[in-house]
């Protein structure tokens, strides 16, 4: 009988190489409470401006949509359902020429204006990226101070896709000149309700 030589899989090879490396057993550090008390709203607004986002109210949003006479507007936010003139398609490719998407964010982070969204907030995963302009509706009392608090808040949430979005698509790849509107949304407006 010919003995078959067992060839180690790459997985096992890598794992065994790691196992065969003597190392310490340093424990994970505790993350202290870095929460900042005080005015979260002001910090959030300042952070958003730094990221080239804007805060608008309902009236300004209406003016924005009216004045541009956008053809394809999709609102997943109950608040602004009336602006919506299309439904979520089956395939994201059909969103290629959409003008405005209005969605609701779960909460915002004051230190950097990141807003947490999960799959169910987006309708389609591609929506916040492919739309020309993005509007996120955020409840005023849904702010946390920093990213530690943010992940505490997300907790064990198990959405297939989650996103911290902090501003419009931007690039500085040409001579470090900041350009808003690289591949994704050319603007981000946040409506605080």
């Amino acid at each position: 009988m010919v003995q078959k030589k067992q060839i180690m899989s790459s997985r096992d090879y890598i794992l065994s190489k790691i196992r065969n490396t003597p190392r310490d057993k340093r424990p994970l550090p505790e993350i202290p409470d870095f929460k900042v008390d005080g005015e979260l709203m002001d910090r959030f607004k300042r952070s958003l401006l730094m990221n080239k986002g804007e805060i608008v109210d309902a009236k300004q949003l209406e003016e924005f949509i009216d004045s541009h006479q956008f053809k394809k507007v999709l609102s997943l936010s109950e608040e602004f359902r009336s602006f919506s003139n299309l439904d979520i398609p089956d395939d994201a490719h059909q969103l290629a020429d959409m003008d405005v998407a209005i969605i609701s964010g779960q909460f915002g982070v004051a230190e950097n204006a990141a807003i947490w969204l999960e799959e169910r907030d987006m309708g389609l995963r591609a929506l916040p990226f492919i739309t020309e302009h993005l509007v996120i509706v955020l409840e005023k009392d849904q702010l946390v101070s920093n990213m530690h608090e943010a992940y505490e808040r997300i907790g064990k949430g198990a959405s297939g896709f989650g996103l911290f979005i902090a501003g419009p698509s931007k690039t500085a790849d040409i001579e470090q000149s900041l350009v808003i509107g690289a591949h994704g949304a050319k603007s981000l407006r946040v409506v605080l309700v």
Binding site: A150, G160, I165, T171, I174, Q176, H183
Partner: protein, 452 residues
Amino acid sequence: MNHPTKAEEFLSDGANAKWHDETLWFVRDKRDSSSKTVPEWEELRDLASRIKDNVLDYLETYLLEFEKNAKANNIRVHWAKNAEEHNQIVLGILNKHQCKAIVKSKSILTEECHLNPFLEKHGIEVVDTDLGERIVQFLNQPPSHIVMPAIHLKKMAISDIFHEKLQTEKGNDDPYYLTQAARNHLREKFLAAKVAITGVNFGVAETGEFVVCTNEGNADMGVHLADVHIASMGIEKIIPKREHLGVFLRLLARSATGQSITNYNSHFRSPDTGKEIHIVLVDNGRTEQLAREKFRNSLKCIRCGACMNTCPIYRRSGGFSYGSTVPGPIGSILSPGLDLQKHSSLPFASTLCGSCSDVCPVKINIHEQLYEWRQEITKAQAANAKSISMKIANGIFAVPFAYKISAGMMRGALKFLPDSITYSGLNTWGKQRDLPELPKETFKQWYKKNRS
């Protein structure tokens, strides 16, 4: 070609070198200001460093946990020992889906694996979608910086290549105009691609999810429109828990560009209905680096690029002078582990000023590792001429009498050698610098006369 030669070439265009230095200094300055708005900044660096220490100590445990959780989330997990296996795995997935064109967002790992030329050889069109990467791809160049791939180019050069490739107006070098041209061009590519490749910033063992950070949104444009998402991830990119993302995301963008966070931070946990996500876990020399105790913690790197922006050498010699996928200080401690001979000049491309270690968000002792690599390299090149002269020097310095004699000879020589010799090509110091004037007596001679 070694680093000094390429650095000299880079510096020969003085205006461009000055621009490069000032532009990167500006980014470092933004990083400094931004980090100082976070009171607990140094504490965060320390936490990040200790989390990564723990990751390296329990790497196999976290990788297995990650694999288990990712699989449970319907993500397909592949393991690659080296670049070749990584590339074959990617090709296999593309072939299975009969895919002939892909979009790829920034992934230094795929650069390290030379994935693009490999796939192109197999008839697959690869479109890099990060603006900077698309620019250098048009020029058949590698990125010169891991965060700002086209930082070595002036906008007119970009205008010229866009005119040729994207038919933009000749001479129009307005960054907004050029970016819009790229946007329209890449939009078509995004809409057409069936498979999208991304890198990975962090893989979370606890959840099996992975996080990709961009400002342009190109990674998401690619993967959400494609049917298949392939994520290439170095095995050291693992972190234990979701809560650790809080630490790393606070550090990453602030260190990289001074922003408080990247605009898009996508957490991929399971594929969308009817779609596929593949993760390729890549070793490619990482387990060897893990086994090198002195250099192990170079694997903590989160690829922010801060050490490049702060490095007085990188700023004045450009990314290409390093001749390695990852340039700059971190590249100079990673690359010798991959090919000692090829990269032997890199650990010497430093004054050991230590700025890299002080900006590093995970506190890698980069300048100390540069010093340690120097020791390894000279051991590997034991027959080198420099070694002999150094041994002689050591012999001299160890024996006071010999030191006195030789110093006296040196002083004598300096006094009587004509300028033409001290300043000739043989005397590199003297090419652009005067030598100090020789005093009439040494301190030792003075001391003997005046104090003893």
